[in-house]
Amino acid sequence: MRLTLPDIRHDQSGFKALVRLEAETKDCVFEEIAIDMGGTSWIDADMCASFGAILYRMGDNMNTVRLTNIRPGVESILLKNGFLSHYGREKIPDRWGTTIPYQRFDSKDDRYFADYIENELIRRSEMPAMSPGLMKKFRESIFEIFSNAVLHSHTKLGIFSCGQFFPKRDRLDFSVADLGIGMRRNIADHTGLALAAADAIVWATAGRNTTKRGPVPGGLGLKLLGEFIDLNGGCIQIVSDAGYWRRQNGKTVTAPLSNPFPGTVVSMEINTADTNSYKLVSELSAADIF
């Protein structure tokens, strides 16, 4: 089987292209799948998390995946961030240090993920000089996203992450994708609510909603993430099943996708020039917590 791939941008069009690839290959078993990237003139590097998740699922279905005719500019990015190392190529040094490597984790790899974030993001000298408050919030947000995937996705195939820093634009993109059951099914299974995929994302990102049952409460992680992005002036996109959701400038938009993503992707775009202190206006007393 031979398929072509268009540009994969960090926006709705990029996700549309990826879910089309998923739809075209989801029933393939023991096939040789060649993805012709001759027409791919651009890939936003953080989208490797979602792209890699789809390719990993193809491999798990015992298909052999080959990426062909990769243009030099795209190839260079995918070699630097280690993506093509998963497909028989050697990683090359990232001279400018702007890539955050593509990596796959199992859902029990919390500590390993934490080390990855510390070593590949927080402690890197090439990273932008973010204010301590922003750096702390950013770091917390990434861990909230990963925890969400661990707690809610029920993924057996893993969690995928990748990022890219754009120094001239003061922007850092970071994505986490899982191959789990998706928000729509998770909500249906736990609450009985039958929602459209995009509405399921709206539900999951709202205030106190949670699919958590049993002794440990939940329902705060994605809400905190949205609040941070609103203050930061960045953007967050979520794709789950056949739903697309984006929050930017305090405004949320949703749309159905023509095909489902086989899990959930949370993709954040951080404004690294943000000078908010993230200090609270009124301080809480430790005696007034419980």
Binding site: E140, R208, P215, V216, P217, A255, L280, L284, A286
Partner: protein, 121 residues
């Protein structure tokens, strides 16, 4: 036998990154054992650099499913927490109180949300 004790989060987790629900569970087990015995506990966040709601839900939020608010308030204290972490803990605590008070709130919540937020493209 001591009536007051301090539990170090850093020592319990073994890392300054307190982000995983599983690590929160370790803290919960120590806390719950102490509160069951009626001990006063000071939970120290000294040397902790990063917290998530997932960690705090497991470590502290789930106490509200087992112990009364009064019991927790009378026996548990926190120290060495910067103001923004205190604010996060406060939200986790408030969410936990609601969660255990009103576990069947979901249908109305989703109706409210879908009525207000989803501006379709």
């Amino acid at each position: 036998m001591q009536n007051e004790m301090t539990i170090s989060i850093f020592e319990t987790v073994g890392s300054p990154l307190c982000v995983a629900s599983g690590d929160g569970q370790k803290v919960y087990e120590r806390l719950a054992a102490a509160l069951h015995k009626g001990r006063s506990v000071t939970l120290s966040f000294h040397n902790v650099t990063t917290l998530t709601s997932a960690f705090l839900n497991a470590a502290i939020g789930q106490l509200y499913g087992v112990f009364s608010e009064e019991h927790i308030r009378s026996l548990l204290k926190v120290q060495d927490m910067p103001p923004d972490d205190l604010a996060l803990l406060k939200r986790v605590v408030e969410t936990a109180k609601q969660y255990f008070k009103d576990p069947q709130r979901f249908d109305q919540a989703v109706r409210d949300e879908l009525g207000d937020n989803g501006d379709d493209l």
